[in-house]
Amino acid sequence: MEFVFSPEQEQLRSTVRRLLAERAPLSRNRELAEHGQRHDPQVYRDMAEQIGLQGLALPEDLGGSGGSLVDLAVVCEEQGAVLFGGPFFATAVLAAHALLACADDPTSQALLGAVADGKTTATLAVVETDGRWERDGIATRAEPLGGDHRLSGMKELVLDGAGADVLLVVARSAAGLSLFRVDPAAPGVQCRPLRTLDGTRAMARLQLTDAPARLLGEDGGGWRAVERARQVATVLLAAEQVGGARQCVELTAEHARQRRQFGRPIGSFQAVKHRLADMAARLELARAAAYWAAWQCPGTSPRCDEAVAVAGSYCGESFLQTTADTIQLHGGIGFTWEHDAHLYLRRARCDLSLLGTPQQRRERLGELVGAAEGSAR
């Protein structure tokens, strides 16, 4: 395999791009967000039934089509370009990859099938008050009850939490951190939507009070599932950010061509050109980092970990810078509600807190590089 897109991937990209342009363009996603709606369920179903996007990177024996994470990254890039919200990322990325880590469990297998069909939406609830994706930040407790468990605790920043059909919750049992399936309609489960800076992505706070739950996979083996889901999600979030940044560069370049001041297009002024060139250069670096990581993933090798840490560190912060430049280069129009620039800024800023911070990624990178040097000596 070479580090270029295959004809099938190019085909996939244009199919997804067409579907989004017709059914979920940015204008539509903005409208849904402004009306507090999570998504258009028909578009979600069609993504599964017509193109099989939800099952794209799931194994064939579990109802998927056995594609790679590069395939899924292509999809996420296109979704990121139009700030597609809804349950896709939470379901097909976060929850699906947590479930894949415990795919021996028949419940997981059944859920993965339902995810691939587009019939069930799901999400993964990990972080608590401190917002950190670290083991010691998990205080939610699981007490055994008959064959099942009861969970009590509070989860923050649960992506698409208030609308998901299935909640996957990480909690501490006697054996350690474990993954549980919780039915959002069960007694003791309260999921409140949160108003965040980025209206295009639904977030919730989950309160569990003796909520009935079923263990998924091995008791005490839940953190492995979280790490796998987080690794994959970090890479696909980076792909989304590439899409968002791409859209910002296009919007801004077009504006610089059209907008005239001092009798010339503003794009002819060197100060504008330089800023745009920096935006484009950042985009290329982010694209390389995101797809390199998608190509290495999933995996447990240091090379894979390093690629994820680099993508997670670079793509989010560079996207944020690009959205700020977009606003600046648009002048007064960039400050208006009507213009789309602020939607990208909001998305970029919230992304930085979604799966842990870029600083944490760099810490991880430091550990990896330090370890490699240590073993070489």
């Binding site: 001041q261 007064g332 400050f335 509600w337 009507e338």
Partner: protein, 329 residues
């Protein structure tokens, strides 16, 4: 080299503190001293309370400390005026941001270019917070290239002017009594020379302000449509076709006014440090370094502001006379 303290701002601040002790309503003072933001919010969002306070503040010259005493100011230096603004902000007793155009831009421009009659008419109500001002400069086709503005002012035989055109991004125009208006009075002259400056009464028939929503969700700026708006010649500021020079005074005041009060004001980063200490973020070397980076930026910004301000009055006066161009962004 001198620092602001050596410029004697301490004396002015002491005077202001004494005056505040005697004049700031006692519940207002108590709310600030107790850090009771709810009580303070209730006071400062009550228009009856604030307009009474702005009268008192303005009558004593504290709303416009930099203006000359004969026009209701206190003849303060720029450093002193800055210290006054900081002290008032500490008591949540200064004028709101929405009055920036009036206090900083209209005030300076009318003082520099107005006739005695114009100063008498416009300055006292401005100082007392009775009339809000907006800036009608930018147009859809004229932003950075302000001098390319296309709003026209035609002279009528009776001496009045008829104005037609469209302005945009005009902050608080929908709440303003007057607007600082630039319009093209002679299209045959080079673009910087054919502009005349007016003090537009926003209640004149034909003036229509339509709020535009900003990315924050608030609607503070506007589109302003001007259709056959009749403006008396007494509202002209400066000479016919000399509006660009008048506008330079406004723009320079805007520049120094906006940079003179850093958005991240004194103590904001210190508060961030205190907060980081309580949340534990301070224990992370990474976050600590970022916060300290912000602190360094805040401090250098303040130092640069002080440096820019000390000789600013003389420099600005020189620039006002010589500048024949300006780009804004």
């Amino acid at each position: 080299m001198t620092t602001p303290d050596e410029h004697g701002t301490e004396a002015v601040v002491a005077q202001l503190r004494e005056w505040l002790r005697a004049n700031l309503p006692s519940d207002w003072r108590a709310a600030v001293e107790a850090g009771d933001t709810a009580a303070l919010g209730a006071i400062t969002s009550d228009p009856a309370r604030t307009s009474a306070w702005y009268e008192t503040l303005g009558a004593a010259g504290w709303a416009t400390p930099g203006w000359p005493t004969e026009h209701g100011g206190r003849g303060a230096t720029a450093d002193e005026a800055g210290a006054v603004a900081d002290e008032l902000a500490r008591w949540s007793a200064g004028r709101p941001d929405a009055d920036f155009v009036g206090l900083a831009l209209a005030g300076a421009t009318i003082l520099a270019w107005g006739t005695e009659e114009q100063r008498q008419r416009y300055l006292p109500p401005l100082a007392r917070g009775r009339e809000r001002w907006c800036q009608l400069f930018s147009e859809p086709g004229a932003g950075s290239d302000l001098a390319s503005l296309a709003t026209r002012a035609e002279a009528h035989p009776d001496g009045s002017w008829v104005v037609n055109g469209q302005k945009v991004w005009s902050s608080y125009a929908h709440e303003s009594r007057f607007g600082l208006l630039m319009a093209r009075s002679d299209a045959s002259l080079p673009k910087h020379r054919g502009i005349t400056y007016f003090l537009l009464d926003m209640s004149t028939p034909g003036v229509q302000a339509r709020p535009l929503r900003q990315m924050t969700g608030d609607a503070e700026f506007n589109e302003v449509f001007l259709d056959d708006v009749v403006v008396p010649d007494s509202a002209r500021l400066g000479g016919v076709n000399e509006g660009w020079r008048v506008a330079i005074t406004t723009l320079m005041s805007e520049r120094s006014g906006l940079s003179g009060r850093p958005a991240v004001g004194p103590g904001v980063t210190d508060a961030l440090v205190a907060r980081a200490r309580t949340t534990g973020a301070w224990d992370s070397p990474v976050l600590r370094d970022r916060i300290l980076g912000l602190l360094v930026e805040e401090r250098t910004l303040q130092m640069a502001t002080l440096r820019a301000f000390a000789p600013a009055m003389t420099r600005r006066a020189r620039r006002d006379r010589s500048a024949s161009w300006c780009t804004r962004s």
